[in-house]
């Protein structure tokens, strides 16, 4: 049976001094230690230079373009003079209106004998609610990208899978609605999927990593 002392030393279970004493008397551990030293020294030679000049050129032009866009956005924001708090209240108001419209829509539906199709007026309201959801989702998606990058890989994959599944559901509903835009069942599924995506993105945005 092979000696386990070198493994224990590598995993930090025994100290340097204890291991040094052992190694003097154990040729197997001595050999493994020597081979590891050889491996690491060969590995250092793999630290070869890579040409990244063209990469910087591409990156620089993209960064400059982004900085320029950001500056012009900031200028237009200053011109409008909308305080940040007001922006937040506007978003919150849009969200509440969306919820209100949705509640009204379902309340109306439950009070009537459904024909399976929405009236033009109801359809307009639902489409408006969908638009408000989509706007909120766009805003949240911009914020969620970085959060996904800094979170635990497994967790990030779970969120990405969940978002992919919801996107598929949204896509299926949208395809079905192309043929029959007033179908209230499909509209209901679509609204549920949009709400689900909105909630998931909010969770991601609220994520606080430990180490960054």
């Amino acid at each position: 049976m092979k000696c386990e002392m070198y493994k224990k030393f590598q995993l930090g279970r025994i100290g340097d001094r204890e291991y040094d004493l052992h190694e003097k008397a154990c040729p197997a551990c001595r050999e493994m230690h020597f081979q590891d030293k050889q491996l690491l020294s060969a590995a250092r030679k793999l630290r070869v230079p890579v040409n990244t000049v063209t990469l910087w050129d591409k990156l620089e032009s993209r960064l400059k373009a982004e900085l320029k866009t950001n500056r012009s956005n900031e200028k237009s924001r200053t011109k409008l003079k909308i305080p940040i708090q007001l922006g937040f209240f506007l978003k919150a108001a849009a969200f509440l209106i969306g919820i209100g419209l949705l509640a009204l829509f379902f309340w109306n539906l439950s009070g009537k004998q459904s024909s399976g199709l929405l009236s033009q007026q109801a359809l307009n309201k639902v489409e408006e609610t969908e638009r408000s959801y989509i706007a909120a989702i766009d805003e949240l998606e911009k914020q969620s990208g970085t959060r996904l990058d800094i979170m635990d890989i497994e967790l990030s994959f779970l969120y990405r899978d969940r978002l992919d599944t919801i996107d598929e559901q949204i896509q299926r509903c949208q395809n079905a609605l192309k043929k029959n835009p007033a179908n209230h069942q499909v509209r209901r599924y679509l609204l549920a999927a949009l709400q689900d995506k909105n909630d998931t993105l909010r969770e991601i945005v609220a994520f606080e990593p430990e180490s960054t």
């Binding site: 050999e31 050889q38 491996l39 060969a42 590995a43 070869v48 990244t52 960064l63 970085t146 960054t212």
Partner: protein, 189 residues
Amino acid sequence: MDNQSQINIGKRYSGVMNEEDIIKKCQQNDMGAFKMIFEFYSQSMMRTAIRILRNRQDAEDVVQTTFLKVFRNIKRFQFKSRFSTYLYRILINNCYDSLKKNRIQTDSQEMETLALNPVPGQAMELEAAIQKLPQRMKTCFVLFAIEEFKQDEIARLLNLKVGTVKATIFRAKQHLRRMLSDQLKEGQA
């Protein structure tokens, strides 16, 4: 990444500035500071990405995306962790994302020769052996043995326990010792 990076980055470019000063300049959108950060980290990041993705073009895309994400959000960096940990964490996540997207393609791919500069004979065999390691083992070994990250730093950037990283690196060395036993014995003799 070695302990000296915070000092080296300053010495190399200005003689006065340390990494924190350079990042603060980046937070004010200073293009020169962005370039300093890029020049200091890009080579190591490219090597790591090429080894994980086995493809230079994908690696370039991933490194570029990583820098863009980092520079876009650098104002939010609060110096609570080391910058290199933050940067590499995003890099590794992006690499894994890219692997996930190209999974079918990568699985069917033949072992691709690394698009790095040629290395001497024994090192080339080691390079091929590293490519045969399982993904997480390979990432840990590359960061530790080639890019000289400390084990606790690897643990932080891969979100693993230090013990897990130590065991993974030990297993990686064990696999490599077996794969390269002939060459290592020659060296011993």
